[in-house]
């Protein structure tokens, strides 16, 4: 975790500048190490800066912290340059094998730790050839959030404040002037002056950041989040073994599976939208795994609720634990509805095991073994065991927090999975990949096959079921967020990251990579927002839904409903732009072009899709009309 490197680096820094170690300081050893450290500190701030110092002079939208990191980063770059010039003057470093004095070693170690920490943060983001940053993990939004910016900048401010007097002290060891000859030319260098300048620039960096600290101080939660950021490399899989695992080991295994599941879901999110390997069987299995895991989490949380009144100093009441258990009931019921929905919807391929299914399976198995006191527990009836008592589940407070963490990790990973599954199911619907058994169709359909393309109503029900699962999973995760923070459970970083990522997403004007109740995924199942329309998502908007709910099958009526939905979406888009844009004198050309483009799309749009339409009407629709009758039979691969 980032905190491991930052904490060790800080210890080395403190040791380097401690009075006792300065006696052995030697400029050719110390200054290069100091320069490396200051350079890394400047790079850390450069990573946080939204633009360079030249662009910053004309920007009016920068926050106090953004401006501070730009100014302080520039100051640290200048300080590093001063140190480089002083190195030129103080001569080459010591030969290989020479043992550097403690101060130099500590500075070098501090620089190495900070570099490693910075590399860890970089694993969450990747730059494309155009220099545009892309999320590489679910933590990316948290890594680029204001709390993390405050945390890093606060650390750099502190380090700068410690290094400034140390560097000033080094000036006493440096000669005032040195003459150098190179290629028949003489240079007069002033190492003492360069070191003094470096010290001043370090103070300037601290002062620039100090202004931001005064205006918007670093919060303890900022540092907790910063220190808890892991590398974007999921841990190795821990397959559940046949032997017994202790409660703590089971919780650790659940955390590993949840981390791996989150990473798999994030990496596979683009693929899940189009891949034919994503099947109804896979979606149903995952929904079942989510429902069963929620059920097991509920049982575990009820045991913890019973135990909460017996353990001292937990920071959480039994009522609060019971509420969290209740939210797990809601989550299970929502996933159960998704599961049942897949009884009648199929894709053209049979299910195959996926890595995400493996991780969800490991997670479920360990959650079951937490609840049931049987080391061989599996979902099979033959492997049942007696229920673990509350005292055996949480014998002491540390184990109590570990079990809460495990349930929290599971809920968070499943919430993330729900968001991606919703998106991929919507994509499958748009691509005509969803079928239903012919026997489930209303009377009047004559399809000489076992399966037929899914009706619009069926697709909408599926979508609503997933919206409910997303909402219920996020609610359960947020309930556990609060408990995790209250009892300082290891998983509290998830809660902090969710909050930071949600704020960051709003600043970016996009979607959060961390599912949150406030995010745009949280759409009501029945009252669909107007931003969903045929022109945007390819699925019916609220007016078309209302018309269909009244069993209206007149194509003209449905077309009018589609047109109203699309027009409403456009109008809302206009209103959004109206409130977001107008800086006086700013051109609105791009947006204007967008409106006319939408108008062309609207004009070109034909009749809405749906089972009520005949094949000629279907053929005129711009997007995929679903398979023709001779393709209505699912293919086996």
């Amino acid at each position: 975790m980032f905190g491991d490197f930052l904490g060790t680096g800080r210890k080395h820094l403190e040791a380097a500048v401690a009075d006792g170690d300065l006696q052995g300081a030697d400029l050719p050893d110390v200054v290069p190490a100091l320069r490396r450290l200051v350079t890394v500190m400047s790079l850390c701030l450069e990573d946080l800066a939204p633009c360079d110092e030249i662009e910053a002079t004309v920007r009016t939208d920068l926050t106090v912290w953004e401006r501070a990191v730009i100014d302080a980063g520039t100051a640290l770059q200048i300080a590093a340059d001063c140190l480089r010039r002083s190195m030129t003057a103080t001569g080459p470093g010591q030969p290989a094998g020479h043992r550097a004095p403690p101060a130099a070693r500590h500075l070098a170690d501090a620089a190495a730790r900070l570099t490693t920490g910075r590399d860890l943060l970089h694993t969450h983001l990747v730059l494309d050839p155009d220099g545009v940053s892309h999320d590489q993990s679910e933590w990316a939004a948290a890594v680029t959030s204001l709390p993390v910016m405050r945390g890093i900048a606060g650390e750099v401010a502190d380090w700068s404040a410690r290094l400034a007097p140390f560097t000033a002290w080094l000036t006493g060891l440096a000669p005032p002037h040195i003459s150098r000859h190179r290629a028949d030319r003489s240079f007069a260098l002033s190492p003492r002056e360069e070191l003094a300048s470096a010290s001043q620039w370090l103070r300037a960096a601290g002062a620039a950041l100090g202004q931001a600290l005064d205006a918007d101080a670093v919060q303890p939660a900022d540092l907790q989040l910063l220190y808890g950021i892991p590398a974007a490399v999921p841990p190795q899989r821990l397959p559940p073994g046949p032997g017994g695992e202790s409660v703590v080991e089971l919780c650790r295994g659940i955390t590993v599976s949840a981390s791996r599941l989150r990473a798999l879901v994030h990496r596979g999110r683009d693929r899940a939208i189009w891949s034919p390997d994503v099947t109804s069987g896979g979606w149903q299995w995952m929904a079942q795994a989510a429902a069963v895991t929620s059920h097991l989490s509920e049982l575990a949380l009820r045991s913890l609720a019973a135990r909460a009144g017996q353990l001292d100093g937990l920071g959480v009441t039994d009522q609060r634990m019971s509420r969290a258990a209740e939210s797990m009931v809601g989550m299970r019921e929502a996933w159960q509805r998704v599961d049942l929905m897949w009884n009648t919807i199929v894709t053209e391929r049979r299910s195959r095991p996926t890595p995400a299914m493996t991780e969800a399976g490991d997670l479920l198995l360990r959650m079951g073994r937490l609840v049931w006191a049987s080391p061989q527990w599996t979902p099979a009836r033959a492997h049942r065991g007696p229920r673990r008592t509350p005292a055996a589940l949480a014998p002491r407070p540390a184990v109590f927090t570990a079990v809460v963490s495990a349930a929290h990790q599971a809920a968070d990973a499943l919430a993330r999975m729900a968001v991606i599954d919703l998106a991929s199911v919507q994509a499958a619907a748009r691509n005509g990949r969803l079928y239903v058994p012919t026997r489930s169709l209303p009377e009047g359909y004559n399809v000489p096959r076992a399966f037929a393309p899914a009706l619009t109503e069926t697709v909408l029900e599926a979508q609503d079921a997933y919206y409910d699962a997303v909402g219920a999973s996020i609610r359960a995760a947020r309930d556990l967020d609060e408990i995790a923070i209250a009892i300082a459970a290891p998983s509290k970083t998830l809660a902090l990251a969710r909050t930071a990522a949600a704020v960051q997403a709003r600043r970016r004007g996009g979607y959060s990579t961390w599912p949150d109740e406030d995010s745009s995924y949280q759409q009501p199942g029945v009252g669909v927002a107007f931003k969903h329309s045929r022109a945007s998502t390819g699925l019916p908007g609220p007016v078309e839904r209302a018309v269909r709910a009244r069993r209206a099958d007149d194509p003209v009526l449905l077309l009018r409903a589609v047109a109203i939905d699309n027009a409403a979406r456009q109008l809302i888009g206009l209103a959004d732009n109206e409130s977001a844009l107008p800086e006086p004198g700013v051109e609105v050309g791009a947006s204007g072009a967008g409106y006319s483009h939408d108008a062309v799309q609207l004009a070109a749009q034909s009749f809405p899709e749906g089972a009520v339409l005949n094949s000629s009407a279907r053929a005129s629709v711009g997007r995929s009309p679903g398979p023709p009758p001779d393709r209505a039979h699912p293919r086996q691969r």
Binding site: Q288, A291, D339, S351, P379, R381, Q636
Partner: protein
């Protein structure tokens, strides 16, 4: 329970691949419906019934891939049996039904001429075995 006995008998009487496939389809649907009802009856059997229902849906869908499966329009859709019996007893009954179905499907797979029929029967049999394994009583 009568419904289960009747369908069990229909499977026993099924003559030929097509008849076994139709009986298999109905059995999988019945298991899915019954498991759904029984899942909420017992917290410790919830996982077993939930995954058994998923396997039943997969098994039914596997049968749909068989070229020999008869047109199914107009087939009676079973209402789930009311849980007059306990969850454990229901698990026993469904496990036995799934076990019998897997045997018939394996036999049919061996006798099938068409590769797609054979594959469908084997896939469906695997799902039936999964159901039987999930719901079978322990040795103790």
């Amino acid at each position: 329970m009568n419904q289960i006995k009747l369908i069990h008998q229909r499977l026993a009487d099924a003559d030929g691949l097509a008849a076994v496939l139709v009986a298999g389809w109905e059995i999988f649907e019945l298991i899915a419906a019954s498991a759904s009802v029984s899942a909420d009856e017992s917290p410790d059997l919830y996982p077993a019934f939930t995954f058994a229902r998923g396997a039943a849906v997969s098994g039914r869908n596997a049968i749909a891939f068989a070229p020999s499966v008869r047109p199914l329009s107009g087939t009676v859709v079973h209402d789930p049996p009311k849980p007059a019996v306990g969850a454990d007893e229901m698990a026993d009954v469904l496990s036995a039904l799934a076990s019998a179905l897997s045997v018939r499907l394996r036999e049919s797979a061996r006798l099938a001429d068409d590769g797609a029929d054979r594959s469908a029967c084997e896939n469906a049999a695997s799902e039936a075995e999964r159901i039987a394994g999930l719901l079978a009583r322990g040795i103790s």
